[in-house]
Every structure is written in structure tokens, then in C-alpha cells.
């Protein structure tokens, strides 16, 4: 989760094959990065160069799912997406779902169920689970197996992972069922998602002001519905978390009305 603060030192250097590339705007966990990349740079490479090392490089063939990210809310292999193809679209990595202090219920369930052994598949598994539970809050075991069928785990034998997804599903149902969404602060990915535009890229600068929870979400939503909000850690977590962003390479830009 500290990854988001790392400097993109490798970007645009030797691996560009001598070609300078062009500026590309990547919106990762709600944060906007402007980086210069050549056309053949994959999203996986770009993300890891930016410090999002929770995105793992496994097979580079789309077989293992270790490099999974959510792109526009859908789980994809980032090794099979070119960085240019992800331009402006919301990208979520495992670290964007929650922090060690405030883990996402799925992350919590993975830890509790013993679903993490070597950990290499875990970020991708968590995101595959997230993609499933976003559309199917009460999946059967078969549906869970299907949803993680593009993510290989060589440690667990999958039993604990499936259990973790079941536990997480229950927890998330409980949270939404109790009306928690309305009455409590939105946490992690939920907050980030509520701020994200359903139909496209774009980010809205967050003011330095302290805004909390749902109220923050409402006030930051771009009026034309086409903007998302970038926040320091990719998510509004607690009171006062919306503040200015450190680092010179990454900055927040108002572009709610722009095209792609």
C-alpha cells in the first residue's frame, strides 16, 4: 500500500526501446498519474514501474491471474492490456481496496481464513472475488470457483480461498443489509467507487478541505456525471483523508468534462 507513493523512476527509460512514447494518464486507485510510455508497454509493467507492486507478474500470457486489476470495474489480466489502452479508465489494484489499518472485508476474510500462503496469487484472487461480489452478493460455491478460475494458486488447493470469499460475501451482505452504507462512513473501495463515474474516465480534483463519508462522496461527484474523484490513497477512508497529494509526478487534475 506504500506502493502508491513510490516514484516512477523506471518509466520511459530503457524499456521504451529507444522510443519516447507519449504522455498517458493512468488513474490508479483514484490517483492520477501522467507518465510517458511507449505503445508496447503493458499496463502491468506501467503499474509496477509506478510502484504498484501489489500487481504481480506471473506468466505474462493471461493464464495465471497474478497481474489482475479492475479496469473500469472489470477484472482483467494487466499483462494483456497495453498501458495506452487503459488511458483515463479507472484502475483498481488490491492495494486500492483497503489498507492494513482498514482492510476491505474481502482482504480481512482472506487473512482470517488462511487463504494466503505464499501470497503471490492473493492480490489477483482478491480482485477476482471483488469483481464477483460486485455483481453477485450471494454466490454459490460453483460460482466462486468459476469466478476465480482464471487465477492460479499453487499453495492452498483453493479450499481456504473459496471459504474466504464465502465469508466476505456474508460480511458484505451484512454491511449493506444493515443500512450501513447510508449511515456510516464509506470505506476503501466503496468510497472510491461511489465517486467514480459509471461511464468513463476522468478525475476531479479534491479540495484540501476535510470531507467525510457519504457527504464527501456527494459533494465531490462531478455534476455532469463523467468525472471520478482522485484521492490520496485511492479511497476515502476516514475523516480528513481527503487532502492534497504528495509527490511531484502525480497530481490531481480536473477533467470532468473531457473526453478520453
Amino acid at each position: 500500500m506504500s506502493g502508491a507513493n513510490a516514484k516512477p523512476t523506471l518509466t520511459g527509460e530503457p524499456r521504451s526501446g529507444g522510443r519516447p512514447g507519449r504522455p498517458v494518464r493512468l488513474v490508479v486507485n483514484g490517483r492520477v498519474h501522467e507518465v510517458t510510455l511507449p505503445a508496447h508497454r503493458t499496463l502491468l509493467e506501467a503499474l509496477r514501474d509506478l510502484g504498484y507492486v501489489d500487481v504481480k507478474n506471473g506468466c505474462e500470457k493471461g493464464d495465471c491471474g497474478a497481474c489482475a486489476v479492475l479496469l473500469d470495474g472489470k477484472v482483467v489480466n494487466s499483462c494483456l492490456v497495453l498501458a495506452w489502452q487503459a488511458e483515463g479508465k479507472p484502475i483498481t489494484t488490491n492495494a486500492g481496496l483497503g489498507t492494513v489499518e482498514h482492510p476491505h472485508p474481502i482482504q480481512e476474510a482472506f487473512a482470517d481464513a488462511g487463504a494466503v500462503q505464499c501470497g503471490y496469487c492473493t492480490p489477483g484472487m482478491v480482485l477476482a472475488a471483488k469483481a464477483l461480489l460486485d455483481v453477485n452478493p450471494n454466490p454459490s460455491e460453483a460460482e466462486i470457483r468459476e469466478a476465480i478460475s482464471g487465477n492460479l494458486c499453487r499453495c492452498t488447493g483453493y479450499g481456504q480461498i473459496i471459504e474466504a470469499v464465502q465469508v466476505a460475501a456474508g460480511k458484505l451482505r451484512e454491511l449493506s443489509g444493515s443500512g450501513a452504507k447510508e449511515s456510516r462512513l464509506l470505506r476503501g473501495e466503496r468510497a472510491a467507487e461511489s465517486l467514480r463515474s459509471p461511464n468513463g474516465p476522468g478525475a476531479v480534483a479534491t479540495p484540501g478541505a476535510s470531507l467525510t463519508g457519504e457527504r464527501a462522496a456527494e459533494s465531490l461527484r462531478s455534476p455532469d456525471g463523467s468525472g471520478a474523484v482522485a484521492t490520496p490513497r485511492g479511497a476515502l477512508t476516514q475523516e480528513g483523508d481527503v487532502s492534497c497529494l504528495p509527490g511531484s509526478q502525480e497530481h490531481l487534475i480536473r477533467r470532468g468534462g473531457e473526453g478520453r
Binding site: E45, G62, L71, K74, V76, G150, R260
Partner: protein, 290 residues
């Protein structure tokens, strides 16, 4: 391992895309990239310039009109899988999409890319052959429709000309009396390339006789292919287990598979026979229900 260096042209409209192709025919279109990028990385494909179709809204979407289902070439496999119109009028296509690679790949891979890449094992091809689909190609010279049975010309070869783009796939609406079934044999349940796949569709009359029969196979010939002799064995007959058995034998005889890591010629022939028998038996059972 990084990808070899290439340029990427990113048109925002179909017009711009076909103009770009007209100016540089042979430029390789990239749709979902789930096959092409793997081949580029592995050195099996070499391209200096790719044409990214991912920003062209006109190539997306699935619509149903009064006589056909129209699937944009850039509709992802996941979108086809979820489409109610596909479920109603092309259920065997939805079935093929359900066992297509993995959920992650299905969110990127497109139906047009799957066809244009023309793998003998392309998952969406046998159902589309059985459904009498037509593909529409667009270029600066206009539009051209090609029946899918004439689209595949060899391993990785299609009827698409260098300045044409595959724009959409057209499937006639299902008529009353339609029965269809699909099976795929892979080496594992998920994320597997077909060893053999089979799709069948029949339209039966009031008396239960086949008025029309389509049987198509994947991964048993240089192209996905219909098996005409097996189809003929169903003609004007009532579907029974004996008819299914006979047609399955004819289908297997018509195949020309290869030995590869997924199976031998002998295995593929036996598997093709078994799969055709099973899809036809499924139709026998469905016919009995109707």
C-alpha cells in the same frame, strides 16, 4: 519479458479506422489483444504497427431487430455471455462463451477478435457456423457480408482483405422448432483451449422431423467447419439415438485433425464422434420435452 517495439494507432471512429487501414493495408488490428499480445511476446507474430479498435464505440453493442441479432465485433466475450438477446436467439453461442478461457480473458477478448484470429479452435466459431451467422466487413470501399462458413480460409487465414475490418456478426432470429446444443472438450474445465468442440442446431417440424440441420466442429481441421455429411444424415428424419449415432460416425470421418499437445489424431476423431453423439442426444431429449 517485454513486448517487441511497435506503434499503436488509436482511431476514435470506424471511419478513421478504415481510412487508416486504407492508407496502410495490412496493419494488424488489435481487439482484446488476449491472443495477439501473447503471440507478439512469444515471437510468433511480428507487427510494426497495430490498429487499436478499443476506442470505437460503433463496433460495440448487441442489438436485436425484427429479423436478426447483431453483435458488434468489439463486444467482449463477457458481454455476449450476459446478453439476454443472445441467450434467447443464440444460446449455443452463450454456452461457448461460458467456457471461453477465463473470466479475466472474457472481459477483454472480443467476438470479432476470436473470429478474425481464425484459430482452428476458436470457441465462438462452431456455434456461429451452426447458427448460419454472417460477418460484415467494412472498408473505404463499403460494406461486404460473408457467410461465416466462407469466412475461414485456413489456419489464421480469413476472407478479410487487408483493408477491411470485421465490424459485426449477424445471426438470424431463432424460429419456432429450433433445438440446439453445444459441448467443448478441454484438458481442464477452465482456461482451456478446445481439444474438440461441437455445436448442433436443428429446426424440427410439427411431426418432429428435421427441416434443417447444422453440425459444426472446432479444432479438428485447419478451420472450424461444418460437417455436411453428418447434417445430411439428419435430413427429414426424426431425431433418434440411431440417427444421432450414425451422424456422429459420419462427422468423425469427415474430420482431419492434427496431433498436438492437446491430443492425437486418433483421440480427436474419437472425441469428435462422442461429442457429436452427445450434442445430438441432447437434441433428442430436448425434442422429447417439446
Amino acid at each position: 519479458m517485454t513486448l517487441p517495439v511497435f506503434e499503436l494507432v488509436q482511431p476514435r471512429s470506424l471511419r478513421d479506422a478504415i481510412d487508416a487501414l486504407a492508407a496502410a493495408p495490412g496493419m494488424e488490428p488489435i481487439a482484446g489483444g488476449t491472443s495477439l499480445l501473447v503471440d507478439l511476446r512469444g515471437g510468433r507474430a511480428k507487427q510494426e504497427v497495430l490498429l487499436d479498435l478499443g476506442w470505437i464505440d460503433e463496433l460495440r453493442g448487441i442489438t436485436l431487430d425484427s429479423h436478426e441479432l447483431i453483435i458488434g465485433a468489439m463486444a467482449t466475450i463477457a458481454e455476449v455471455l450476459r446478453s439476454p438477446a443472445v441467450a434467447e436467439h443464440a444460446s449455443i453461442l452463450a454456452q461457448a462463451c461460458a467456457s471461453f478461457a477465463s473470466p479475466l480473458v472474457r472481459n477483454r477478448a472480443t467476438i470479432g477478435g476470436n473470429l478474425a484470429y481464425a484459430s482452428p479452435a476458436a470457441d465462438t466459431a462452431p456455434p456461429l457456423l451452426a447458427l448460419d451467422a454472417v460477418v460484415e466487413l467494412r472498408s473505404v470501399r463499403g460494406r461486404r457480408q460473408v457467410p461465416i462458413a466462407e469466412f475461414f480460409r485456413g489456419v489464421r487465414k480469413t476472407a478479410r482483405r487487408p483493408d477491411e475490418l470485421l465490424a459485426s456478426i449477424h445471426i438470424p432470429r431463432a424460429v419456432p422448432g429450433t433445438l440446439s446444443a453445444y459441448r467443448k472438450l478441454g484438458l481442464r474445465k477452465a482456461d482451456a483451449i478446445s481439444v474438440v468442440s461441437a455445436a448442433a442446431r436443428v429446426v424440427v417440424d410439427q411431426a418432429g422431423r428435421c427441416e434443417l440441420a447444422r453440425i459444426a466442429l472446432g479444432a479438428v481441421a485447419p478451420t472450424p467447419t461444418r460437417v455436411g455429411k453428418a447434417e445430411a444424415a439428419l435430413g427429414k428424419r426424426t431425431l433418434t439415438s440411431e440417427v444421432a449415432e450414425a451422424a456422429a460416425k459420419l462427422a468423425a470421418e469427415a474430420t482431419s485433425p492434427i496431433d498436438d499437445v492437446r491430443g492425437t489424431v486418433a483421440y480427436r476423431k474419437r472425441a469428435a464422434e462422442a461429442l457429436v453423439r452427445r450434442v445430438l442426444m441432447e437434441l433428442v431429449e430436448k425434442g422429447g420435452d417439446a
